[in-house]
């Protein structure tokens, strides 16, 4: 008997559970509870289900080469997603704009199973850095292609999207502005601060202590506490309100994300600079570099991988945290999440949550690759 690959067996079990559970949920409108529809109940479903099952079972064999495994996993994932779209257009009566077909447990488990299988295959492939960038770009392009093709237009989330396309684009921009803006501000303030406490040992404890306390404040509490404080500033300081300071809206959201980003940036700057070997630093000074040259030519380039790791932490953290900005009128994908929660419209929640997850995932992987690239450059 052929040897089995334990992780592949786990993925197959997850996928099998997905095949057994309803693929989609059909609802007469977006609020009423719906009924589950399995893949096999669809006209094309039996063939697809059989194909998916075959891939999952065959994948259990340890002997499969990684390239084949990756191709099969991607094919499976695409088939599952396209089945979702096909199920939606099949189940929705012609001309009915109220009915909703939402992905159900079966879809999520199948997507999870094949997604894990693909990730596992990429791992086994031990791809070069360049190939991993290519794979990431390919995955993004594939997802964008499927969305743009209209194959998923019947699915509930996409129908929510279709009715508020302009709003979605605005909130997407707001979300990116919050996440990247706070990161940019944190880098602008945090790197000099990190360099300063690296050179001036005296302030190190105080600065890190304060940032540590900031970091431990729960996010909702921080957003909450900012409303009265910044509200007061806007009212009391002349010109503050005109400059955009306010208790609710984008400004407090940006400030909160900035504060959360500060500790990782400052502490990683410090760690990166401290990690440069003493002999290297001594040689740089001893050879006649000025303070600025030592920093720019030796310390910062050698600290770069650790700094990029901070950028990764902050970006992924802030893409997620920016959702909460929706609660205080700061905009971003959180707007849809909280609207959806208020209206008990899960499809609307997904419209906010799914792009947030995708964004965090892509940013996380891209920066991991960048960190590795920088490590290789510095090693």
């Amino acid at each position: 008997m052929a040897r089995l690959s334990p992780p592949a067996v786990l993925f197959a079990l997850i996928g099998a559970a997905g095949l057994a559970l309803p693929l989609v949920q059909f609802k007469a409108n977006r609020i009423v509870p719906g009924e589950g529809v399995g893949l096999s109940a669809l006209p094309f479903g039996l063939a697809v289900a059989a194909g998916l099952a075959a891939v999952l079972i065959a994948g259990c064999a340890a002997a499969w080469p990684a390239v084949l495994r990756l191709a099969a996993a991607i094919a499976g994932l695409v088939a599952v997603v396209l089945s979702l779209g096909a199920a939606a257009s099949h189940l929705t009566p012609e001309g009915n704009t109220l009915a909703r077909v939402a992905p159900a447990a079966g879809f999520w488990l199948l997507a999870l199973g094949f997604g894990l299988m693909a990730a596992d295959a990429v791992n086994r492939l031990r791809p070069s850095l360049a190939l991993r960038w290519l794979l990431l770009a390919g995955a993004v392009a594939l997802a964008a292609g499927i969305l743009a093709s209209g194959a998923l237009d019947g699915v509930s989330v996409m129908r929510e999207y279709a009715t508020r396309r302009d709003l979605f684009m605005r909130e997407a921009q707001a979300h990116l502005a919050l996440a990247f803006g706070s990161l940019g501000l944190a880098l602008l303030a945090g790197i000099p601060l990190g360099i300063a406490i690296f050179q001036g040992r005296r302030w190190r404890g105080t600065v890190l202590g304060v940032l540590n306390i900031l970091q431990t404040i729960p996010s909702l509490a921080l957003f909450g506490i900012m409303i009265p404080i910044l509200g007061w500033v806007a009212a009391a300081v002349p010109g503050a309100a005109g400059a955009g300071v306010s208790g609710i809206g984008t400004f407090p959201a940006l400030v909160a994300l900035f504060l959360y980003a500060l500790l990782p940036v400052v502490s990683n700057t410090l760690a990166g600079l401290s990690g440069v070997p003493a002999a290297t630093r001594e040689a740089a000074v001893g050879l006649g570099m000025t303070r600025t040259q030592v920093l720019a030519q030796v310390l910062v380039p050698l600290a770069l991988p650790v700094l990029l790791a901070a950028v990764r932490i902050v970006l992924v953290q802030n893409i997620g945290l920016a959702v909460i900005a929706g609660l205080i009128g700061g905009g971003g994908f959180g707007t849809f999440v909280f609207q959806g929660l208020n209206q008990t419209a899960m499809d609307l929640v997904l419209l906010g949550a799914l792009p947030t997850i995708a964004l965090a995932l892509v940013a996380g992987i891209a920066l991991d690759l960048a960190v590795q690239g920088a490590r290789r450059g510095a090693a």
């Binding site: 070997p277 002999a279 001893g286 006649g288 570099m289 090693a379």
Partner: protein, 306 residues
């Protein structure tokens, strides 16, 4: 010429270097020896102002170093340290080019100088130019570190335990190579070590330090035969001082006319080598290449206290 005049360095009221005066002539190789905490490294680092003196002056060719901006002073002085301190993110060529580039040499001149130095240190430029420091062995990295220190043709080279991280076999070769290169370039060299054997092997002069004070500043032979204090005598070690003394003198210096049996010895071999060969082969005298002999009696006379 380097003149160190009444140099002191205090840390919290405690003198780490205490009123040291020294003069090093052009082209001379001075070794600073002492135990750890003797102040030898601090003294070295005051010469290129990595440590600022609390009192006293350092003059290079008559110019007081305190009058120059520290970074410009350091670009004129080569500096090599234990563990080489190569920049891990730069290639061998970029490392060596550090000071010439700081000085704004033209690109072509820098490239030519890098290749010249790699040749000088027996590293094939084509093979080593583009390597990263982590791709070098300990001995190669050490040589690149010294090449980097010499890149801008400094008149003065400072070295702090440059061979400390090397294993004994490579160390002996590296010491011999350094001495040879220093002779050829005529560079004034001040080297810090805790190893008296290294000091005797390398130094034209040895300065022994203890607790911040300069105890003795003399030729290796005088240090061995006439230690100024009990501390210096302990540092030399009484067990093999006779052999160390012999290692300083070439065979040619005591060769006399005559004939002897067996394989000849090179005239620039040390008396220590000659003694070892006599004992090993059971001969009373060895022929010297190019004529003459060296006798066991003459060796014995050289080694004993006169």
């Amino acid at each position: 010429m380097i003149e160190i005049r009444n140099l002191s360095r205090l840390y919290g009221g405690l003198a780490v270097v205490d009123d040291v005066s020294l003069t090093v002539d052009k082209g001379q190789l001075l070794v600073l020896v002492g135990t750890s905490g003797s102040g030898k490294t601090t003294l070295l680092r005051m010469i290129n102002r990595l440590v600022e003196p609390s009192a006293g002056r350092v003059l290079i060719e008559g110019v007081d170093t305190a009058t120059l901006p520290p970074h410009l002073l350091r670009r004129r002085i080569g500096y090599a340290i234990q563990g080489h301190g190569l920049f891990p993110h730069r290639t061998v060529a970029q490392n060596i080019a550090t000071v010439p580039r700081l000085l704004g040499w033209p690109r072509a001149q820098v490239a030519a100088r890098v290749d010249e130095l790699l040749d000088l240190f027996q590293l094939d430029p084509a093979a080593f130019r583009d390597r990263m420091p982590h791709q070098l062995s300990g001995g190669q990295a050490q040589r690149v570190g010294v090449a980097r220190a010499l890149a801008a043709k400094p008149d003065l080279l400072l070295m702090d335990e440059p061979f400390g991280a090397l294993d004994p076999l490579i160390r002996a070769k590296a010491q011999a190579d350094l001495k040879e290169i220093q002779r050829r370039l005529g560079t004034t060299l001040i080297l810090v070590t805790h190893d008296m054997a290294e000091a005797v092997a390398l130094g034209d002069r040895i300065a022994v330090m203890d607790r911040g004070r300069l105890l003795q500043d003399d030729t290796p032979a005088r240090i061995l035969t006439d230690p100024a204090t009990p501390f210096v005598r302990d540092l030399i070690g009484t067990a093999d001082r006779a052999l160390r003394l012999l290692s300083l003198i070439p065979v040619a210096a005591i060769a006399v006319p005559g004939k002897a049996q067996g394989a000849p010895i090179a005239p620039d071999a040390s008396l220590r080598d000659a003694l070892a060969e006599c004992l090993w082969s059971g001969r009373e005298a060895l022929p010297v290449e190019g004529g003459g002999i060296v006798t066991l009696d003459a060796l014995r006379a050289q080694a004993s206290q006169r």
